[in-house]
Symmetry: C2
Subunit: 209 residues, 2 copies
């Protein structure tokens, strides 16, 4: 799937058309007629390449996911330490939402309400992506950088939830997303929590940086 090469022109035009339309409209408000017209093909062609309208959405998402998954992987190369990796992953993650609003909208809003999405190939890609974070957490626990009294899978959910929810409102209302600023705040939150630390200047110095 999404072989990156050799898609017929019609298929490409259709996928691009959907991306264009999603910039301005909800997925549910976009009709197949509209997609076909924007793509410059007939409606029936959509159904040659996609099972149905949703499948088109899933496949468009999948193409983006593959790309960003690959990028996340390379972005992490050369970084030492679980917390540093998490910081970088958060930054990259937010940066994608900041620069590709259509992708953000599809992933955070459009597909989530369809229950067949969770059995799709595309959802497997999402899981593959979040696997990266899980591995970093496990590494961090092993190296004593991350606490070991909360299950890694749980931590992953909580971390991703906070990232996504912070970006979500900004995506919905078209507000600006600043990766630097948000990453800084998110890391503070995720790493240290909201509790006011004891104001004990002698013993609470951070050890790692």
């Amino acid at each position: 799937m999404a072989e990156a090469k050799a898609w017929p022109p019609g298929r490409i035009k259709i996928a691009d058309a959907l991306r264009v339309l999603l910039e301005k409209k909800d997925f549910s408000a976009i009709t197949t007629a509209e997609i076909a017209k924007t793509a410059g093909v007939t409606e029936a062609l959509i159904y040659k390449y996609f099972k149905d309208k949703r499948d088109l959405l899933y496949q468009v998402l999948a193409e983006n996911l593959e790309h960003y998954h690959f990028r996340a992987h390379t972005d992490l190369k050369g970084i030492k330490g679980a917390l540093n990796k998490i910081r970088k992953l958060i930054w990259s993650h937010i940066n994608v939402y900041a620069t590709d609003r259509v992708f953000a909208k599809i992933l955070l809003l459009d597909v989530r309400s369809f229950s067949d999405y969770y059995t799709s190939e595309t959802y497997k890609l999402v899981k593959k992506y979040t696997e990266i974070l899980l591995e970093i957490i496990q590494e961090g626990i092993k190296d004593q950088e991350i606490r070991d009294d909360i299950p890694p899978v749980f931590l992953r959910q909580a971390i991703l939830g906070s990232i996504e929810n912070v970006c979500l409102t900004r995506v919905i209302f078209g507000r600006e997303i600043s990766p630097d600023d948000l990453t800084e705040k998110l890391c503070e939150f995720v790493f240290k929590g909201i509790e006011q630390r004891a104001v004990n200047h002698s013993t609470t110095q951070p050890l790692n940086y």
Copy 2:
């Protein structure tokens, strides 16, 4: 809106019918014909009481929200300390998702993809609900229980995101939700963060419990 009293029987039957159908199906897969049939009324009656199919969804959600918002408020009475209040709020919040899966599905999955939802009266109720958490955070900052170097609005988003994302997968896949267990883990995460604390047995005893 949602005057709690004096709704005509037809309206009640329609709202109930939607709730029943949502237990088994996506909102997008439910037809107006189906709703009418389940309710034992004609399709046209839906449009007497609701602007359109979505408006029906929003209003059903609104009714639940009002109820849970009220309950959250009373649940917090008599609790001292911002962190204790947050713990209780998290528990109540999760408990709602645990006991009312339809409500959870509507709020976390169904309405989010519709952009007109964010201009609806129902969304205002959601904001009113999240306002509770914001006020607690502000109180906590004032009382030095909560760190003051991250904006309260940001903290609220991050906290709610982690709560909701933790519940989300369980809602999607129909897995069990254990309020006690999840609250404990979430509070640990939210209050203290993921970073392994310095293993300094003399000074790191928790103070509050």
